[in-house]
């Protein structure tokens, strides 16, 4: 492989973010250990463009985030649209948040191209791509406080690097940056589920996906709920694959979120409360894509599994007072 996910992410940071901090609503903190923390929306304002560069660097520069809108019931909602090449590499080895660190008693998930340096976890190891010696490493974290020296040492240390080599982009869910970058995890959410179900990941040629951004609210727990409704009830992923049809058809009842018949239709805010607002208590089966469309290049056949739920999406859009 003749490209470096971390170098491509660095270019996005150094050309698109650092020279335009004021316009993007981003703040930069260089810590005592030399780590560079980019506040893309923790205390900084952030916004649409901050989310775009957060996501595109998170993909190792292998894809693009654009915005659009979609009709949901009687309302129009904004959407986060992802187009990604080398989807398995971009998502499993970078975008997916499966590097776990435990810091000050709290377990946190980290995403980003740094996962491809050593193949930090089971999902990064599912692809052969490695980026062993980049100039700098890039990581992303969804968090409501600014990462400090201790946290950056843990993250950089997870791949055997010094914190001065680290760019760490951070945003909390209760900002537009956070909401948009979570909803941009449409393709990202689908691939680990496919891997879990034994689908041949190398058969994925290209991918794209879309999810509505139903809400942005200050309260972090409410934000978790409303924003994740955009994924489990509104995301639709298109996968161009090259495989036998049987590899696809056996996924019909085990892949999409609506397989969870006991909880389908319940807003994620309620489901998260049942898990005491702890991600470690959320069943793995709930982290499933809403709708996936397979287009088989080998056979010309297409298959769609899952369903959007406009009711829950409208409820999230219309807020605590139902839009009145």
């Amino acid at each position: 492989m003749c490209y470096s996910l971390n170098e491509r992410a660095c270019r996005i940071i150094e050309e698109n973010i650092l020279p335009h901090l004021d316009a993007l609503g981003v703040q930069v903190h260089v810590l005592k250990n030399g780590a560079t923390v980019l506040d893309m929306g923790v205390f900084a304002k952030g916004g649409w463009m901050a989310a775009k560069y957060f996501t595109q660097s998170n993909l190792g520069g292998l894809g693009e985030l654009t915005y659009g809108t979609m009709q949901v019931g009687s309302h129009r909602l904004p959407t986060a649209n992802i187009f990604v090449d080398r989807a398995a590499v971009a998502e499993l080895a970078a975008h997916d948040a499966f590097l776990y660190i435990e810091y000050q008693g709290v377990k946190r998930s980290v995403s980003g191209p740094l996962r491809s340096v050593t193949g930090t976890d089971h999902f990064a190891q599912a692809v052969s791509y490695r980026d062993p010696a980049p100039r700098k490493i890039v990581a992303h974290i969804q968090i409501d406080e600014l990462p400090d020296e201790g946290m950056t040492e843990l993250i950089a240390g997870a791949v055997g690097r010094h914190p001065r080599d680290l760019y760490l982009l951070a945003a909390r869910t209760g900002t537009l940056t956070g909401a948009a970058q979570v909803c941009a995890r449409n393709v990202e959410q689908s691939l680990p589920s496919l891997l879990d179900q034994g689908f041949p990941i190398d058969a994925i040629v290209q991918a794209c996906g879309s999810a509505p951004i139903p809400a942005v609210v200050d309260d972090e727990q409410l934000a978790y709920g409303r924003v994740n409704d955009g994924l489990i009830y509104g995301q639709e992923t298109n996968l161009y694959v090259d495989c036998a049809d049987e590899e696809i058809t056996r996924l019909e009842t085990i892949l999409p979120f609506n397989k969870n018949g006991d909880v389908y239709g319940i807003p994620f805010e309620t489901l998260f409360a049942r898990c005491d607002y702890l991600w470690r208590n959320v069943p793995r089966e709930w982290d499933a894509p809403c709708r996936v469309n397979f287009f088989n290049l080998r056979t010309g056949h297409s298959f769609s599994y899952g369903a959007l739920h406009h009711g829950v999406l409208e409820q999230a859009f219309l807020g605590s007072n139902g839009g009145k």
Partner: protein
């Protein structure tokens, strides 16, 4: 300063791309004006470039297709803005009906639907197109979010953080009044605008009720409430 630089860069791009964009550049003693819809048709790209300049490059300006009730797919302007207040400032008209990004010596990037060929009172870099041109239709579609921002500001809501809009573009005719009516209908019935703010609920409601738009929503970040037309 960065906003003006972006606006200046956009105007420079418009000069360089005038031919390709179906526009014409006119140099005058008081500045340069670009005809984007009087003697030439103008079109999509000049309007997109101008909007990127008016918004300081702080967001995404894009076109899409929207399906209407009769099944027809028609074009729409979509804006996703990181500084809707700053952009709204750029849509405030002066006494000559020109709006845009101002500099020390006139407009860095000005816009008007007045025929500048016949007027003397303007100064700087201005893009002009007729009232029933595609360019002006796109500008008027973008102006709808600015009007919503101004409505909120009049009611005392000042913390307006981000916004988005989706406005189908009505087909133009040579009848200026007919074109105007079609655009008003699009604004009232088919345009969706949302703004995220921190502010007082009753003030937000007054702003919304004062706008003749069915799909104008304001999302209040602290209370997690959403306000729309009753």
């Amino acid at each position: 300063m960065e906003w003006r630089e972006k606006a200046a860069q956009c105007f420079q791009n418009l000069i360089e791309e005038a031919g390709a964009n179906h526009c014409a550049v006119q140099a005058r003693e008081q500045g340069t004006w670009i005809d984007a819809g009087w003697d030439v048709p103008g079109g999509w790209m000049v309007a997109k470039c101008v909007l990127e300049g008016l918004s300081g490059g702080r967001g995404q300006v894009s076109y899409t297709q929207r399906q209407m009730a009769d099944g027809m797919q028609i074009p729409a302007l979509e804006l996703f803005l990181d500084d809707p207040v700053g952009t709204a400032r750029a849509f405030q008209r002066d006494e000559q009906g020109i709006y845009g990004v101002r500099g020390e010596e006139g407009y860095v990037l000005g816009v008007t639907d007045r025929p500048l060929a016949e007027e003397k009172g303007w100064k700087g870099n201005v893009v002009s197109a007729g009232p029933n041109s595609l360019f002006t239709g796109i500008m008027e579609a973008a102006d709808l979010m600015a009007q919503c921002v101004q409505a909120l500001e009049r009611e005392g809501v000042s913390e307006i953080l981000w916004g988005w809009s989706s406005c189908p573009l009505a087909a133009m005719t040579q009848d200026v009044e007919e074109t105007r009516c079609r655009r008003l209908e699009m604004a009232k019935r088919h345009t969706a605008i949302s703004l995220w703010v921190r502010g007082e609920g009753s003030a937000i409601r007054r702003a919304i009720e004062g706008m003749d738009m069915e799909e104008f929503f304001v999302h209040e970040l602290v209370t997690a409430c959403t306000y729309g037309k009753r």
